[in-house]
C-alpha cells in the first residue's frame, strides 16, 4: 500500500515528510489539522506504520520520534473527543448481564436491516469498500493488547483470537475470508486499497481500535470495544448474508458473513464472560473503561450508519 492522499494541510505535509529522505519535521509538527478528516487520515497513517506500513515510507519511520510526538498529540485530542461523547458513568450490576443489557438498550440505525431488505447492488459494494479498511486487518488492533493482560484474560483472549486467525489455517483467517469475498465481488482485495474513498466515520472507527490497542492504559477500553463488537455481530451478520443472497453476491462474500453468525455467537460469550469478566475480576478499576470502549464501538457504528443511510437516502 502507498501512503493515502492528503486531506488537508496536516496530512499533506506529514505524508510528504514520511516519504522524504530529508524530511521537514519542524513544519509537520507546527501545522494544525484543517478539520477532523485531515486529523483522522493523518492519525490513521501514523497508526498504519505499526501494522504493515507503506511501500513508499521507510520502515524506520515507525519509531521516528517526531511522528510519535505527533501521533500522541493527535490521539490525545481524539481520545478527549471520544470521552466527551460517552456517558460519564457506567452502569452498576453483575458485569455480564449488565453488559449485554447495555448493548441491547443502545438504540441506533441499522445498516444490516437496510442491506437485508432494501439496499441495491451499488450500495452493498460501497459498504464492502468501507468495511474493507477494517476487515482486511480484522482482529489485529486487539492483538496489541495480548502481552498487557493478566494470565486468565490473556488465555481467554487468545482462545478467541486463535479462531479469528483461522486456527493456524491461513485460508480460514477471517481477514483472508473477506479478501476472497472482495476478489469474487470484483473489488480490490489488497490491504488498505480503498483508504482514499472512506469518510471520516470509517477513519474514526479504525483509529479508535488502534488507539485502544496501542495504549496499554486503555486495555480495558480495547476489550470493551471487542465485546460490544462481538455482541452486535451475529444477528446483523445473518441479515447481511441474507441481503447479499437476495442481491446475488458471490458465495465467498456471503460465507464471510455466514461464518460470523456462528463464530460471533461464541465470541460474544467469550468476550463478555471470559475476557472482560476475568479482566474486571483482576483489575476492577478498569470497569469504566470497558464500558467506555463498548460505548465508543456502538456510537461510532451509529455515526457510520447515519452517514451511509443519509447518503443513500434510505
Amino acid at each position: 500500500m502507498l501512503t493515502p492522499k492528503g486531506r488537508g494541510s496536516l496530512s499533506d505535509i506529514v505524508f510528504s515528510s514520511m516519504r522524504s529522505s530529508s524530511p521537514t519535521w519542524k513544519l509537520a509538527l507546527s501545522t494544525l489539522a484543517d478539520d477532523d478528516e485531515d486529523l483522522q487520515i493523518t492519525l490513521w497513517a501514523l497508526y498504519e506504520l505499526h501494522y504493515r506500513g507503506f511501500e513508499d515510507v521507510d520502515d524506520s519511520m515507525e519509531w521516528q520520534p517526531e511522528l510519535i510526538e505527533l501521533r500522541r498529540s493527535l490521539e490525545t485530542s481524539f481520545e478527549h473527543t471520544l470521552r466527551d461523547r460517552a456517558p460519564s458513568v457506567s452502569p452498576d450490576g453483575e458485569f455480564a448481564e449488565t453488559f449485554f443489557d447495555f448493548v441491547a438498550d443502545h438504540d441506533g440505525p441499522s445498516l444490516a436491516s437496510h442491506v437485508h431488505k432494501d439496499a441495491d447492488h451499488e450500495q452493498v459494494l460501497e459498504l464492502l469498500r468501507m468495511r474493507s479498511i477494517y476487515h482486511l486487518k480484522e482482529s489485529d488492533p486487539t492483538t496489541w493488547v495480548v502481552p498487557r493482560l493478566p494470565v486468565r484474560t490473556k488465555a481467554a483472549l487468545m482462545e478467541l483470537q486463535f479462531d479469528e486467525y483461522g486456527c493456524g489455517d491461513p485460508t480460514r483467517l477471517h481477514a483472508q475470508l473477506f479478501a476472497r469475498g472482495m476478489d469474487q465481488c470484483g473489488l480490490r482485495p489488497e490491504y488498505g486499497a480503498y483508504i482514499d474513498d472512506v469518510p471520516l466515520e470509517v477513519l474514526e472507527e479504525n483509529n479508535a481500535m488502534s488507539l485502544f490497542g496501542l495504549n496499554r492504559r486503555l486495555r480495558g477500553a480495547s476489550l470493551g470495544h471487542l465485546a460490544a463488537f462481538e455482541v452486535t455481530s451475529s444477528i446483523p451478520s445473518r441479515r447481511i448474508a441474507q441481503g447479499f443472497a437476495r442481491l446475488g453476491l458471490p458465495d465467498a462474500m456471503i460465507e464471510y458473513y455466514t461464518e460470523h453468525v456462528e463464530a460471533d455467537a461464541v465470541h460474544e460469550q467469550l468476550a463478555v464472560r471470559t475476557i472482560c469478566g476475568s479482566l474486571l475480576e483482576e483489575e476492577p478499576a478498569l470497569r469504566d473503561d470497558v464500558f467506555f470502549g463498548a460505548f465508543t464501538c456502538l456510537d461510532l457504528e451509529d455515526r457510520f450508519a447515519h452517514r451511509m443511510l443519509a447518503e443513500w437516502a434510505a
Binding site: 455480564a96 448481564e97 449485554f100 441491547a104 486468565r152 482462545e159 486463535f162 479462531d163 486456527c167 455481530s233 451475529s234 444477528i235 445473518r238 453468525v261 456462528e262 463464530a263 460471533d264 455467537a265 461464541v266 460474544e268 460469550q269 467469550l270 464472560r273 476475568s278
Partner: protein, 67 residues
C-alpha cells in the same frame, strides 16, 4: 473458575452451552454435527436458525423464556 481446573463445558446464563475442543453433537432430528472451531456454542433456547449451534437469537426472546 479457580486453581488448576478449566471447564470444557460452560453454561451461559440465558444463552448457549459452550463446548471447548472437538465434539460430535447429535441434534434433535438425530443428525450428527462436528464442531468446527476451538470453542463452539450449542443452542439452548431452541430458537437458533443454525441448529444445533447458537446464532444469538436468544437475545431476541423475552428474558423469562431464555434458558
Amino acid at each position: 473458575m479457580s486453581g488448576t481446573e478449566h471447564p470444557d463445558v460452560v453454561l451461559c446464563p440465558g444463552g448457549p452451552m459452550l463446548l471447548r475442543g472437538d465434539h460430535v453433537v447429535q441434534d434433535a432430528d438425530g443428525e450428527l454435527h462436528h464442531t468446527q472451531r476451538p470453542v463452539s456454542a450449542v443452542c439452548r433456547c431452541g430458537k437458533s436458525g443454525s441448529q444445533p449451534w447458537c446464532d444469538g437469537t436468544h437475545k431476541l426472546i423475552p428474558a423469562k423464556n431464555r434458558p
